[in-house]
Structures are given as C-alpha cells and as structure tokens.
Symmetry: C2
Subunit: 150 residues, 2 copies
C-alpha cells in the first residue's frame, strides 16, 4: 500500500493547481474585459435555467456547485440585487426558499455564453485534440468521483 506521494503524484498535483489557475484567470479576465459578471454567476444562472420554473433550493445549488453554505447565501444576495434571480417562499418547507432565474437573468446568461465559450476555446480547446481532451476529462472525471465519494 502506498503511503507517500511519489514524485509523479506530486507533479500531477502541482500541475493540476497551475493549469486550473491559469485557465480560470484567463476566463475571468475575458469576462471582466467584456464587462460581464464573473464565472460563478454564470454557473449559478446556468444551474437555475436548467432547473426551470421550479427553481432550486439554496442547499441544492450549494451541492451542485460545491460552494460553502455561507458563501452561496451571499452570492445569491448579490445576484438577486442585480435582478437576475428571485427568491420565492417555499411551500413545503417554512425555513426554505426557492431561487428562480428571471428573464433578465436568462438574457445575461445568454450574453455571457459567447464570451465564455471563446475563452474556453482559447484556454483549452485550441491546445488539445478531441482525443486529448477526452482522455483528460476521463481521468479527471475518475478522480472527481473518488474525491466526492470520500
């Protein structure tokens, strides 16, 4: 049984950090340059648009996005203040609420997408063949499953 990380493992770890950092910051800069909200906002809007009219409970969004509870709570505050989402009372559960995307929110997401897509293409797609991208995402998917599993 392995006890210590090998050189190879450490290199993979380090590069995972670096690649993500570089890729993320290039996307964030692209969004900022286009005077659009940051990436998390996009992700929230996308999740909510997929969820449809019903919306999502904060705790569902929290799990879908791997965000801390206190963090999501205030993120939703900010997005709500910009008018892209609404909080509605939740019939089933008096503590809860449902977060629903507004039309403004849908428009904003659609407006962000081309910028985001171009940035992904520039950061990742341009450099990897379909085969490489596939191998990469398969390995990362495997890793993610383990990490989520515990």
């Amino acid at each position: 049984m392995k006890e210590n990380p090998t050189e190879t493992t450490i290199r993979a770890w380090t590069r995972l950090m670096t690649a993500q950092q570089l890729a993320l910051s290039s996307i964030e800069h692209a969004l900022k340059a286009a005077e659009l909200p940051s990436l998390v906002w996009y992700d929230v809007l996308l999740e909510l648009e997929r969820a449809g009219e019903t919306g999502l409970r904060p705790f569902e969004l929290e799990r879908a996005m791997l965000l801390a509870q206190y963090n999501l709570s205030r993120l939703v505050d900010r997005i709500e203040r910009s008018g892209y989402v609404e909080r509605r009372a939740c019939a089933d559960d008096g503590r809860g609420q449902l977060i629903v995307i507004t039309d403004r929110g849908k428009n904003m997401r659609r407006k962000m997408w081309p910028v985001y897509a171009r940035a992904i293409e520039a950061a990742v797609g341009r450099h990897l063949s379909a085969r490489q991208a596939d191998t990469l995402s398969e390995m990362l998917g495997y890793l993610i499953d383990r990490l989520k599993g515990g």
Copy 2:
C-alpha cells in the same frame, strides 16, 4: 480551424475546475485541521528554501507563483509578521528587497510537509496509478506551457 469549444472541450474544462476545487479544498482542510498555515504559505516557504541564503526578490517570487503583485506584497507581510521570512535591503537595487526564509520558516515548512504529503496522497496518489498520474501530468504540463506562452 476550430471556433467553438466542443462538448468534449467543455467537459474537460469543467472537470479541470471541479477536480482542482475538490483536491485543493481537501488539502486546505487537512492543513487547517492540523492548525498549520495555508498552502500558499507552504509554497512561498518552499520557493525561498530552494533559493537559499540569497533569497528572492518579490517580483521573482511573484512570477514563480503566478501571484498578483499586490497580493504577494501583503502575503509576504503576513508571513513576515509570523517570523517565517525576513525582508532584507537589496544591494543592487534601491527599490528592491530580498526575501529570505528564517530558521523558524524552515522548521514550519518541514512541519507542514508530512501533512501536505498525506493530503496529496489521499487526494490524488491513492486514486491514480503511476502511469495515470504520469499521463495526467504530461497533458497538464503541455497545457500549462501553452497557457504561459500566451
């Protein structure tokens, strides 16, 4: 010529974000649980220990670590306040300074290493064979080179 990211590219992108987020937060929790400083501190201390007696100029550290200037400046403040590094005047350049790790700093780095190593092993090493880790880091290395190149 490719213009839009394919499904595969998007999946790779998303998973890169997710895997990093999960892996990083597991490491940070492990360090916090052991009442040790966060990962950036480790990275700074490691860079400085490698640099030896001479230390490094802030701008060198900044580039090595892909950190924003204003960010590094205050990070070094904090680490200095804890006594793990020293700022020394720089002979060649009146604007500049040299950041040098102290003995306390070296001790702290050594104390952090086993916790960090165990966390890397748990987050990455345990789940990937040497061959897989190697493939992963090769692909990420390739990507990083492109991203740094512009």
